[in-house]
């Protein structure tokens, strides 16, 4: 398939599915209550899906050759995680996480 066409199909399909997910209970199923098991399962989508997305980004260090060498990203992410847990602020998480990474990269 032509790469440009494929990219646009991804944009349209993902955009449409995202919009329908966002619209779902606000408009389409507005008069229905969610099945209890679905409501229970959806509560865990952010924790599961976002963690699965984050872990490879943190574990994969382009500079490190071996899996067991010191990876400043893991340490910086741990610090940022603690900050996020207590402050619930994206700004503080971003600030301390990036600062920690820069410091660790400078000293290691």
């Amino acid at each position: 398939m032509d790469a440009t066409l494929k990219l646009w199909l991804v944009i349209l399909a993902v955009g449409l599915l995202n919009y329908l997910s966002r619209l779902s209970f606000i408009a389409v199923f507005a008069r229905r209550t969610m099945p209890p098991l679905l409501a229970r399962a959806l509560k865990y989508v952010p924790a599961a899906m976002l963690t699965a997305l984050i872990v490879p980004m943190i574990a994969a260090d382009p500079a490190a050759g071996h899996a067991l060498t010191f990876n400043p990203r893991i340490v910086a992410a741990a610090i940022a995680g603690v900050v996020a847990f207590y402050t619930r602020s994206s700004l503080w998480t971003m600030g301390t996480g990036m600062a920690a990474l820069w410091v660790l990269q400078a000293v290691s």
Binding site: L7, I26, V45, V55, S89
Partner: protein
């Protein structure tokens, strides 16, 4: 339109989102860089940020496109990632039932992780659905504008950002800011830990299928843990 822009609730929502917008600048830049790395034209890059309007899905789609994954797998993975919008939608629905359908359709488009968190706080604070809706519209528009500008800046100017800044690290940090505060109850911790381990263990799967597999396993474990916890506390 002018009356809307002048409304104090719209303005309050817009202003309340500005700190979150600053936090999103690096993420938006990285998304723009990612679109350019995936070989997108500027119009397609704008299409990604303006139509998909979800950083997680944009990053993932870009990576999977660059890795040559089939269209169906890319769309399916992004769909599962976007299932969290179903939950946000259900949580927002009771506050929006009083609004006309065109308001509902517009507000749904602007539903994101950050806008959701802010809107729920606002709706809990007052009972006026129109004021809440205008507040949400203001917050959503601030995020939407910021997202388009930062994505385009990343697309055109991404190559001037020094690699030593490790700007791509901003992406996991953005999600960490959303996930870490959730880890206050056992089922959420179980879902996150299992998904995190599974995505590494299943790393050998092709086409990034480890992501969707780990996510689904984590959701199942979280749900089971929730059911067990309820049974335990009921005794």
């Amino acid at each position: 339109m002018r009356r809307l822009l002048a409304s104090p609730d719209f303005r309050a929502g817009f202003v309340e989102m500005l700190p979150a917008c600053i936090g999103l600048i690096p993420f938006g830049l990285v998304c723009g860089v990612g679109a350019s790395a995936a070989g997108a034209s500027w119009l397609a890059a704008l299409g990604m940020s303006a139509v998909i309007f979800s950083g997680a899905a944009q990053i993932l789609a870009g990576q999977m496109l660059a890795g040559g994954a089939p269209l169906a797998i890319i769309v399916l993975t992004c769909f599962v990632l976007g299932l969290r919008f179903l939950m946000y939608s259900a949580a927002m629905a009771p506050y929006l039932t009083a609004l006309p359908p065109r308001w509902q359709k517009a507000l749904a488009f602007l539903l994101t992780d950050q806008a959701f968190a802010s809107a729920i706080r606002r709706f809990n604070a007052s009972n006026d659905p129109h004021a809440g809706a205008q507040h949400f519209l203001g917050a959503g528009m601030a995020l939407y504008l910021c997202w388009q500008v930062t994505n385009m800046t990343g697309y055109f100017a991404g190559n001037v950002i020094p690699a030593a800044w490790s700007l791509e690290f901003a992406v996991p940090l953005c999600f960490l800011a959303l996930v870490a505060p959730l880890l206050r109850d056992m089922p959420n911790v179980a879902a996150a830990v299992v998904a995190g381990v599974a995505v590494v263990v299943l790393g050998g799967l092709p086409m990034k299928l480890n992501l969707i597999a780990a996510g689904v396993i984590g959701i199942i474990v979280g749900t089971l843990a929730d059911l067990m916890k309820e049974r335990w506390t009921r005794r």
